[in-house]
Amino acid sequence: MISMRTWRACALACSALVSTIAAAVGVGERAPPFALPTAAGDTVALERFRGKVVYVDFWASWCGPCRRSFPWMNAMNRKYAAQGLAIVAINVDKKRDDAMQFLGEMPAEFTVVYDAPGAVPAAYAVKGMPSSYVIDQSGNVSAVEQGFRDESPTMLEQKIRALLAPR
C-alpha cells in the first residue's frame, strides 16, 4: 500500500504547485529597480534618479483615471522639477499605438517609458490602475497611491513637498 512517506511527498509536491503571489511594494520598502525604453529608444533606469524624488506612475490608455492624472502630473513637473522631482510614467499598454494616441490627446511633459510585457508592474505588484509610487532620494518608497481620486492630488503633492523640503 502507499506508505506515509509517499503521501508526504505527494502533499509536498502539491503545495509546491500552488503559485506564490508577489507581495505588494509598501511604504518604507526599497523600490524595485527597472530599466525601460522610451519612445525614442533610450533606456531609462530608476537608479539614474538617485538623489531625486521620483514619482513612478503606472498608466494605460484604457484607464479612465489615468487621463485625469496626466494634467496634474504635468503641473507637478512644472512646479517641482527644478527642486529635484522626476516623474516617470510607465505605460503598460499591449499596443504601443494605443499609448501614442493617448499621448497625442494628452501630451506628457515628463518621462514616459514602455513596458508592454508588464514585468515592472508585476515586480511592484500593482493592485489597480493607475498606481503611483513616491520614491525618496535614497530609493525607498515613501507613498503608494492606487487610483486617482479627488483627494489623491493633495495627498501626493504633500508627500512630494515633504521629501523635497531641505533638511
Partner: protein, 81 residues
C-alpha cells in the same frame, strides 16, 4: 496476491500523478492582473454595451417591480413611479 497488490499500487500512483497534473493545469489559468485589463476595459466587453439604454431598462424594471406590490396589491404597471 502479491501481483494484485502491485497493480493496485500502480493504479494509485497513476491517480496521484493525474491529480498532480490536474492541479498544475489549474495553476496556469490565473485571472488577468490589473495592468492586463486592456481588452476587458473595452466598451464591447461590458455587460451593458450602452450605458444609457441600461439605465432606462433598469428604471423601467424597478418601477414595474415596485408597482407590483406584495400580496394581491394591484400595481399600475405604468412605469410612472
Amino acid at each position: 496476491m502479491r501481483a494484485r497488490v502491485g497493480v493496485v499500487q500502480a493504479g494509485l500512483w497513476t491517480l496521484c500523478v493525474l491529480a498532480l497534473l490536474a492541479t498544475a493545469g489549474c495553476a496556469t489559468i490565473s485571472p488577468p492582473q490589473p495592468w492586463e485589463k486592456g481588452q476587458l476595459a473595452k466598451r464591447e466587453m461590458q455587460f451593458d454595451a450602452d450605458p444609457l439604454d441600461a439605465k432606462a431598462t433598469q428604471h423601467i424594471y424597478t418601477s414595474k417591480e415596485g408597482a407590483g406590490g406584495g400580496y394581491g396589491v394591484g400595481g399600475g404597471g405604468c412605469g410612472c413611479n
